[in-house]
């Protein structure tokens, strides 16, 4: 058992920090407000191309697809540094974390050749068409239909809470091709400029341009747009979601924001009472506990083991960390939700969805209760 970084890992982190210092504009933190805004998305396109040019966009991918085959620890370091900087990769973090790896594993040769090179070049934005008005936590209740008609699927239905839909070129869409709750669901890769798709932004606390609703009216895609076999969606996304759940190192920005808030309170000489220090210690401990639980999962991944239900424990620990850090800042530095500390505000906006996105905290608790603790199952 060893906690600490190798020299190579430290050098890799330094390289990332140097790249960020050289490539983020001086007003970047103001821009970080609104993870799906036009301004940030435009910046992220240029930034990702720059990362790709120096081999820092997909270094953990196999060399066959433009990566350097670096291990999952480097992937984690990359994710930490980017997320702590306010995620200048914008929506493209998702591509390199799980869409690309899913394409490599389950895509047809044609799909890989078509979609992987733009992702590796930093020139692709995707959105994930999962949730629907009647299917959030109960994702298997989704009703968007894809009916086979000769060589095409015809899609009708509605998706909601979709991040980045206003900018995406492609949608990783879940649609119903059969009656069975889970094995009746398939994945289609749908170009967002296909006729019949309407996208509307939903104003939200998360920031400008982040979440959307999408309508599919007789949208036709060729059968070759199907990803995986018909009915295979559930098993593919179970794995993809485990990656997505841990793909964002939320504890890292939570800790950075917390430290920044504490530094401001120290300067003002109001960080001396027992109460404020206990609250700060609660948030700090929650961030560090989450970090170690996520690292335990990265360790499994680095050793070629399945992530297992412990990824849900790590996710729940992360939700607790986001909550503790967010609540500390609101309580002791309320101006952070105004315009005086853009990074702290951006953190808050990202933190409020931690317990909701990629599987609500309550869903993680169900998984932990069943598969970590082995409790009797709830009747359905």
């Amino acid at each position: 058992m060893r906690f600490g970084w190798t020299d190579d890992q430290c050098r890799f982190r330094e390289r990332l920090r140097d790249h960020l210092a050289a490539n983020l504009p001086p007003d970047w933190e103001e821009m970080a407000d609104g993870p799906g805004s036009d301004e940030q998305t435009d910046f992220s396109r240029a930034f990702c191309k720059g990362l790709a040019a120096v081999g820092l966009l997909t270094p953990h991918w196999p060399s066959e697809w433009g990566g350097q085959g670096l291990d999952p620890w480097c992937q984690q370091i990359l994710a930490e540094e980017m997320w702590m900087a306010g995620e200048p990769r914008g929506p493209q973090y998702m591509n390199v974390n799980w869409i690309g790896p899913a394409l490599m594993r389950f895509g047809t040769e044609e799909q890989r050749q078509r979609y992987l090179p733009p992702i590796a070049a930093g020139d692709a934005i995707w959105c994930q068409g999962f949730s629907e008005p009647g299917a959030g936590s109960d994702l298997a209740a989704l009703r968007t239909r894809a009916e086979r008609d000769g060589d095409v699927y015809r899609i009708n239905g509605q998706k909601i809470w979709t991040s980045y839909a206003g900018h995406a070129e492609n949608c990783f869409l879940l649609a119903r091709t059969g009656a069975d709750r889970k094995t009746g669901i398939s994945i289609l890769i749908v170009p967002m400029d296909t006729p019949g798709i309407t996208v509307r932004p939903i104003p939200s606390l998360v920031g400008e341009g982040d979440i959307h609703e999408m309508f599919f009216d007789d949208v036709e895609v060729p059968v070759a747009a199907r990803f995986g076999e018909e009915g295979q969606a559930w098993s593919i996304i179970a794995q993809a979601l485990a990656n997505e759940r841990l793909g964002i190192p939320r504890y890292a920005l939570a800790r950075k924001s917390l430290d920044r808030a504490i530094a401001i309170l120290r300067e003002r000489r109001v960080f001396s009472g027992d109460f404020v220090r206990v609250r700060a210690a609660q948030a700090t401990a929650a961030c560090e506990a989450a970090r170690l639980q996520v690292y335990a999962c990265v360790d499994r991944r680095a050793k070629g083991m399945d992530l297992g239900p412990e990824s849900s424990s790590a996710r729940l620990a992360t939700v607790m960390a986001e909550r503790a850090a967010g609540e500390f800042i609101v309580e002791f530095l309320p101006e952070a939700l105004g315009d005086s500390h853009p990074l702290l505000k951006a953190h808050h906006q990202r933190a409020i969805v931690a317990g909701i996105a990629s599987g609500a905290a309550e869903i993680q608790m169900n998984i932990i209760a069943n598969d970590v603790l082995g409790l009797p199952r709830e009747p359905r």
């Binding site: 206990v278 170690l292 009747p379």
Partner: protein, 302 residues
């Protein structure tokens, strides 16, 4: 980073498990508030387990892992203090040890009735005093440790032993956190057994979401304590030790409350072992100044 146990660590834990097996269950005749086993303490000493923190290939991290295992038993032992603190102490100081924070002389002291040596943390000073049965009065308490106080109400003075107070405090905190991790895990496991068997409204208690979610949250908090304790043992940093002692004291009360809720009336009887874990954990909540003091040190660095 590597979260796997080394072969040496696995071997130590296997040996501890073998030694602990006779102590996994509560004897039928037991109806006391605590279940101290001098024989288990002696077996741990004879097996060389009190010295593992000082062995280079094993170190404090292995001591933490071992303490967790032993604390998950319903029986209590003084193991945590000896396992983490002995490398700091003069080798001829006799055990069992008890730890005393000189700022708080009103609180009953864990293990005082069975201890041979009291380690006294007094500001910047660490002293050791021999404990003689004649100067100690056992305290009847709900806590699941043998508790005691000095008969005349005064701490013996003791002698300086050349140990830095900061160092004693650091390893006391790690010992406290490691023990808390094991205690809460033992209590959680016991509760899981109960809610998996006990049926109400036609199904096991553990099939109700109100129970399942709180147990899931407890398990994640306990895992956090355990991992932070490992980290503190590996880094040896004062702020890591303070942070995990804080986390242990800060998390435990709510977890203990929930576990007792799920045991219902059974959990307030002495025939169920839950209190052997939870009332040891409760004794740790206030040690070393409680979470206010741990927070002050954990958050001291700029």
């Amino acid at each position: 980073m590597d979260f796997a146990l080394t072969d040496d660590q696995s071997a130590v834990l296997d040996a501890i498990d073998a030694l602990a097996r006779p102590y996994a269950d509560v004897p039928a005749e037991s109806h006391g508030f605590h279940l101290y086993s001098a024989a288990l303490d002696a077996a741990l000493e004879e097996g060389g387990f009190l010295d593992i923190a000082g062995v280079e290939e094993l170190g404090p991290i292995t001591a933490v892992l071992a303490v967790e295992r032993v604390a998950a038993l319903p029986f209590c032992t003084e193991f945590a203090a000896s396992a983490l603190l002995r490398p700091l102490l003069p080798p001829d100081l006799p055990g069992p040890l008890c730890l005393i924070d000189a700022r708080d002389t009103a609180r009953p002291v864990r293990f005082l009735p069975v201890a041979a040596t009291a380690l006294i943390l007094d500001g910047d000073e660490v002293r050791a005093a021999p404990v003689d049965a004649g100067i100690v009065a056992p305290v009847d308490s709900l806590f699941a440790y043998p508790m005691g106080r000095f008969r005349d109400g005064h701490l013996p003075r003791g002698d300086g032993i050349g140990v830095a107070a900061e160092e004693l405090r650091r390893f006391w905190r790690i010992a406290l956190a490691a023990e808390m991790g094991g205690l809460l895990q033992g209590a959680l496991d016991s509760t899981i057994r109960h809610v998996s068997e006990r049926e109400q409204f036609g199904r096991p208690l553990g099939a109700f979401q109100g129970v399942r979610h709180r147990l899931a949250e407890a398990s994640v908090r306990i895992e956090g304590i355990r991992l932070l304790a490992r980290k503190a043992a590996l880094t040896g940093l004062a702020e890591d030790a303070a942070l995990v002692a804080f986390q242990a004291q800060d998390s435990a009360a709510a977890i203990i409350y929930d576990l007792h809720q799920f045991l219902g009336a059974m959990g307030v009887t002495l025939e169920h072992p839950l209190h052997f874990w939870t009332y040891r954990a409760k004794a740790l909540l206030s040690e070393l100044g409680g979470r206010g003091d741990q927070a002050a040190d954990a958050m001291a660095a700029d």
